[in-house]
C-alpha cells in the first residue's frame, strides 16, 4: 500500500516530561486516520512534530517520501495544518486571507487563483468573503480555515479538533466535506478529536494514544470487536483504563 505518512518510533522529550514515546503508525492515500486520547496524552505534540513545528527527540516521520527531520521544507509543501481553536488575521477580509495563504504555497499567479477559487467553493461563504474576518462567527472562521487547509490539495491535511466549538449543523457539514475530499480527491487526513461520534463517522482507522504511548490502532469495527464494546467511546475508556492499571 502507498503510504502518505509513515511515523517511525517518534519520541518527544520535554525538559521534565516524556510527551510522546516511540509512536509508530501509517496513513495510506485517501485514508482518514484519527488520533484520539485524553488531555495531555501527546496528540498535539505528535501532530506538531509531523507538521515540522517541533523537532523530534528521536524517531522520524516520512511524509510523501520526505523526512520531517532531513527535509522539513519538502514536508511543508506536502502538508497543511489546521491547529485546534485557530484564528485568522482579523483585519484581513476572508478573500485576502485566502490569497495570502495561497501565496505561501505557490508563486505562480494562475495556480494561486486556482487555489483561491477552490477555497471559495469549499467554504461557501459567498459575499461574506469580502468582509473582515473580525466580523465572522466561529463557524464561518472554521469553514474558512478548513477551506484554506485543503485548497492546495495537500497530500496530507492535519486537522486538530476540526469541529471544536461548532454547532451540530456546521460540524456535520465539515465532516461530510472531509469524507468527500478523501473519497473523491484521494486526500489523506490526520485528525485529532475528543468527539467519539465524529471519529466513528469520519475516520477509516483510529489510533488511541495515552501517556505518550500509542496503545492501539485499527478501524472502528475491529476495535469494538476486540474490546467487546458497543461503541468507540467504550473502547476509548477501556484502553485508557488499561494503560492506567499498567
Amino acid at each position: 500500500m502507498e503510504y502518505v505518512l509513515e511515523v517511525k518510533e517518534l519520541t518527544k522529550q520535554y525538559t521534565k516530561v516524556l510527551a510522546v514515546d516511540k509512536v509508530s503508525f501509517t496513513i495510506g492515500k485517501g485514508e482518514i486516520f484519527a488520533l484520539i486520547g485524553p488531555n495531555g496524552a501527546g496528540k498535539t505534540s505528535t501532530i506538531r512534530m509531523i507538521s515540522t513545528l517541533l523537532t523530534p527527540t528521536a524517531g522520524d516521520a516520512i511524509v510523501g517520501g520526505h523526512s520531517i527531520i532531513k527535509e522539513p521544507e519538502k514536508v511543508r509543501e506536502s502538508i497543511t495544518y489546521l491547529p485546534d481553536e485557530a484564528g485568522a488575521y482579523k483585519n484581513m477580509t476572508g478573500l485576502k486571507y485566502l490569497r495570502f495563504m495561497a501565496g505561501l504555497f505557490t508563486s505562480d499567479l494562475d495556480t494561486l487563483n486556482e487555489y483561491v477559487e477552490r477555497a471559495k467553493k469549499i467554504c461557501a461563504l459567498g459575499d461574506r468573503l469580502e468582509d473582515k474576518i473580525g466580523s465572522y462567527s466561529r463557524g464561518m472562521i472554521r469553514k474558512l480555515l478548513l477551506a484554506r487547509a485543503v485548497m492546495t490539495k495537500p497530500k496530507l491535511a492535519i486537522l486538530d479538533e476540526p469541529t471544536s466549538g461548532l454547532d451540530v449543523l456546521n460540524a456535520i457539514e465539515i465532516r461530510k466535506m472531509i469524507k468527500q475530499l478523501a473519497a473523491e480527491e484521494g486526500m489523506s487526513f490526520l485528525l485529532s478529536s475528543h468527539n467519539m461520534l465524529e471519529i466513528e463517522f469520519v475516520s477509516d482507522r483510529v489510533g488511541i494514544i495515552t501517556g505518550g504511548h500509542l496503545m492501539v490502532t485499527g478501524n472502528g469495527k475491529e476495535l469494538k470487536e476486540r474490546y467487546n464494546a458497543a461503541n468507540l467511546e467504550e473502547v476509548f475508556e477501556r484502553v485508557v483504563n488499561e494503560h492506567e492499571i499498567h
Binding site: G40, L53, T55, G87, A88, M101, G103, L104, S107
Partner: protein
C-alpha cells in the same frame, strides 16, 4: 515572491488607520506646539519691546515729579495712577492693570536725609509659565528709578555722569563661549536658552517612539501566538527566517517612517519655537553675534547630515526595541499580558530619559555613567548633545554599541523562533495555563465518573 507576500501581510497588519492617524496627529502636535510657542514668545517679545511704566506717585513732591519727567524724556512711556491703601489686588483690578510701582509717602524725605527710600512693586501672576510671567514694565520702572537716584546721589557727591558711569560699570565684559576647539563672542546663557528646547523635546520623542514601536510588535507577535496563526504560518512552505525577516522588516519600515515623521516634526517645532528667541536675543546683544551665527561659529548648528545621524541612531534604538519585543511577545500566552511585558523596555527607557532631562550623563560619577551608558537607549537620548558639543567619537561609539546590542538581541530572537521554544515557552504571571485548567477539569470529570 513568498517573502514579498509575507512582508505585504505584515505591513497590512501594522499600517492601519490608527497608525496613520497617530502619525498625522503627532505631526500636527509638533506644528501646533511650535506655533503656540511662537505666539507666546511673540507676545513676550511684544511685552518687552513696547513697555508702559505704570506708576502711582503717592509722595507727589517736586523731586518725584522731576524724576518721572526725566524718565519720560528718556523715551519711556509712563502712565500715572492715583491710588490709596494697601489692597493691591483691588488697585490692579479697579484700574484693569497687571502691574504697578507705588512711590510711597516719605520717599523724597528719606532720599534727602540719606536713608534708602522704599518703592512698592505689585504684579499679577496668572500662571506658572516662565514666558507668560515676563514683566518688563515693572523691572524697567525699578531700574530707571534706581538709575535716576544713583545719578542724583553721584551729583551731590561731586561726580559727573561720566565718572558715575565708571563707578557703576568699572569693567567692560566681552562674553565668549567655547565649545570644543571653537569659540564665539556670545554668552553661554543665550546658547543654553536656544538649545534647551531641543534638549527637552528630543528625549520625549525617543521615549514615545520606544514605547509605541515595542507595543506594536509585541502585540502582533502575541496575537499570532495566541490565535495560533503562527503555527499555521510556520507549517507552510516558507522558512522561519523569512517569517521573522518579514515581521522585522515591516516593523523596521514602520519605525523608519515614524522616525522620519517625528524628526521632520521636531525640525519644524525647533524652527518655529526658537526663531523668535534668537531674534529678541539679537536685539539685546547689539554689538555681539546673533545666537544662530554663534551656533554656526561654534559648530553647534545641526546640519542635514546631523539630523540624518540622529535619525539613524533613533532607527537602531527602535530596531533594538523590536528585537526585544519579538522575544517578549513570544513569551506572552495571553494578549492581555503584553501591557505587563512592555514594562522592562519602559523602565530601560525611563532611566536615561529622566537623567537626560536633568543632567549631563557625562558628568555623572564614573560607575553610574557606565551603568547608564550600558542601556542602549541612552545613546539616542544623548545623540544631539554629543553631536552639538563635538563629541562625535562618543556618538559613533554609541551607534556602534547599539548595532552590537541589536545584533545580540536579534540573534536570541532568531534562536527562539528557530527552536521548539517558540511554541512551548511562556510567562504566565501566576495565571493558570490552559493546559493546567484542562487537566484539572479532566481529573475532576474522571473522579465524578468513577
Amino acid at each position: 515572491m513568498k517573502f514579498i507576500n509575507l512582508l505585504k501581510k505584515e505591513l497590512s497588519e501594522l499600517i492601519n488607520l490608527q497608525m496613520i492617524l497617530g502619525l498625522i496627529v503627532s505631526l500636527g502636535i509638533f506644528m501646533a506646539l511650535g506655533g503656540i510657542m511662537n505666539v507666546t514668545i511673540d507676545e513676550a517679545v511684544e511685552k518687552t519691546s513696547n513697555v508702559t511704566l505704570r506708576i502711582s506717585d503717592r509722595d507727589d513732591t517736586e523731586f518725584t515729579k522731576t524724576m518721572l519727567e526725566t524718565i519720560k524724556k528718556d523715551g519711556n512711556k509712563i502712565e500715572l495712577f492715583t491710588t490709596s491703601g494697601d489692597d493691591y489686588a483691588d488697585i490692579l483690578s479697579s484700574n484693569s492693570i497687571n502691574d504697578i510701582v507705588v512711590i510711597p509717602k516719605g520717599f523724597t524725605e528719606d532720599f534727602n536725609s540719606g536713608k534708602r527710600p522704599q518703592i512698592v512693586t505689585v504684579s499679577r501672576m496668572t500662571s506658572a509659565a516662565t514666558i507668560s510671567n515676563i514683566n518688563a514694565g515693572l523691572s524697567n520702572s525699578v531700574t530707571l528709578i534706581e538709575k535716576y537716584l544713583s545719578e542724583k546721589k553721584a551729583e551731590t557727591g561731586g561726580l559727573d555722569s561720566k565718572q558715575y558711569d565708571l563707578v557703576k560699570n568699572p569693567i567692560i565684559i566681552a562674553e565668549n563661549t567655547v565649545v570644543d576647539d571653537k569659540s564665539a563672542a556670545v554668552s553661554s546663557d543665550k546658547i543654553v536658552g536656544k538649545i534647551s528646547i531641543q534638549n527637552m523635546m528630543l528625549p520625549l520623542i525617543v521615549f514615545v517612539l520606544i514605547i509605541l514601536t515595542s507595543q506594536m510588535l509585541m502585540s502582533t507577535v502575541a496575537n499570532e501566538k495566541t490565535d495560533k496563526t503562527l503555527e499555521t504560518l510556520l507549517s507552510a512552505p516558507v522558512s522561519r527566517g523569512s517569517v521573522i525577516g518579514a515581521k522585522m522588516l515591516a516593523a523596521g519600515l514602520i519605525a523608519l517612517i515614524n522616525a522620519a515623521v517625528y524628526m521632520f516634526g521636531f525640525k519644524i517645532f525647533v524652527g518655529d519655537a526658537t526663531s523668535k528667541i534668537t531674534d529678541s536675543a539679537g536685539e539685546y546683544v547689539k554689538s555681539n553675534l546673533s545666537v544662530d551665527e554663534a551656533l554656526k561659529q561654534l559648530g553647534m548648528e545641526l546640519t542635514g547630515m546631523d539630523y540624518f545621524l540622529v535619525g539613524l541612531q533613533l532607527f537602531f534604538t527602535i530596531m533594538i526595541c523590536l528585537s526585544v519585543s519579538l522575544i517578549l511577545g513570544a513569551l506572552v500566552n495571553d494578549t492581555k499580558n503584553t501591557q505587563s511585558m512592555i514594562m522592562p523596555i519602559m523602565m530601560l527607557a525611563v532611566i536615561p530619559y529622566m537623567i537626560s532631562m536633568v543632567a549631563d550623563i557625562n558628568s555623572l560619577p564614573t560607575v553610574f555613567k557606565y551603568i547608564v551608558y550600558a542601556i542602549p537607549f541612552t545613546h539616542t537620548f544623548s545623540a544631539i548633545p554629543n553631536i552639538m558639543f563635538g563629541n562625535r567619537t562618543l556618538f559613533f561609539l554609541g551607534l556602534g554599541y547599539q548595532i552590537i546590542v541589536f545584533a545580540i538581541c536579534m540573534f536570541f530572537a532568531l534562536r527562539l523562533f528557530m527552536s521548539d521554544k517558540i511554541f512551548t515557552i511562556s510567562l504566565n504571571f501566576g495565571q493558570k495555563t490552559k493546559y493546567k485548567i484542562k487537566k484539572r477539569k479532566a481529573v475532576k470529570e474522571n473522579k465524578t465518573n468513577s
